[in-house]
């Protein structure tokens, strides 16, 4: 599999987040059987970052749905296309309380996404399909898409209020 970084055209601006030191980086093909591998890798990571129970499950669910969307809509079911997943810890102080967060970046080489045509539908309809985007948005605090050169970049962020422990102390500076 050609790494996504290798597909970046010469002279194209390197996505700023790529230069960071990430806690976890996964490179995988767009094969649905690998979804369980991503979930399996994320589960101990989000737990280590202080996300337990429903918070942890929300993050794993959102990433799983986002990667499924890349496989289905960006790569149209092709099984050998590159996907990269980066995970990092975030921190912020709100009303004097330190909040731990997680940032997930997903990159793929599919065509640019027209965000006005994303297949989300009214939840009042009772029919199969079109739920992935609702699930991602309902599971995370922030969902941002942008085109980064020839790549699609999806940034997912979630904070856990009043979380303690995890990887690193509360005084640690944001990564």
């Amino acid at each position: 599999m050609t790494p996504i970084a290798a597909k970046r055209p010469r002279g194209a601006k390197k996505p700023s987040k790529m230069s960071r030191s990430f806690l976890l980086k996964l490179e995988l093909r767009s094969h649905p059987t690998l979804l369980c591998v991503i979930r399996g890798a994320l589960e101990p990571l989000v737990e280590m970052l202080g996300f337990s129970g429903e918070y942890g499950r929300s993050i794993i669910r959102a990433v799983d749905e986002a990667v499924s969307n890349i496989m289905r809509h960006s790569y149209h079911g092709r099984l050998d296309q590159p996907i990269e997943v980066y995970c990092n810890r975030l921190q912020r102080r709100t009303n004097g309380e330190m909040e731990l967060g997680v940032e997930i970046l997903l990159f793929d080489c599919g065509p640019a996404v027209d965000t006005t045509k994303l297949p989300a539908r009214s939840l009042d309809e009772i029919r199969p399909g079109g739920l992935g985007l609702h699930i991602i948005r309902g599971s995370m605090d922030s969902v941002q898409y942008r085109r980064a050169g020839r790549l699609n970049r999806l940034r997912l962020v979630k904070f856990a209020p009043s979380s303690k422990g995890g990887c690193g102390s509360a005084e640690e500076k944001p990564s």
């Binding site: 649905p32 059987t33 369980c36 499950r57 669910r61 749905e65 199969p128 739920l131 699930i135 599971s139």
Partner: protein
């Protein structure tokens, strides 16, 4: 993921184990629709107690099963939902549409 079917009186119980995601949700859909269209069955019960995770494509399969059961006039019942499965149905605002029970005894007695 594995799916097996048991017949109890006029009900079919589908036991699913493993996780349901984009890689295998079509199998769940096929199995559900096959049992729902089986003659003489009045209730299809989906045992999800050995399923830790269901994604949106799995939810879509459940919705297809629900719609098919309504079309054919039989009952479609779920039991043994994990926290994760319950949460995804809740986020999708579909939890109230399904008949959901804690265990097989409740699902069969309902």
């Amino acid at each position: 993921m594995n799916i097996s079917a048991r017949r109890v009186d006029k009900a079919t119980i589908l036991d699913v184990s493993g996780n349901i995601d984009m890689s295998n949700s079509l199998e769940v859909r096929k199995a559900l629709l096959r049992e729902i269209r089986e003659k003489g069955v009045t209730r299809v019960v989906l045992n999800l107690s050995a399923v830790a995770y269901i994604d949106s494509s799995g939810v879509a399969s459940l919705v297809e099963g629900l719609k098919a059961s309504r079309d054919t006039g039989l009952r479609f019942v779920l039991y043994g939902l994990s926290d994760s499965a319950r949460e995804v149905l809740k986020i999708s605002r579909l939890l109230k549409l399904f008949e959901v029970y804690e265990d097989e005894a409740q699902a069969m007695a309902s």
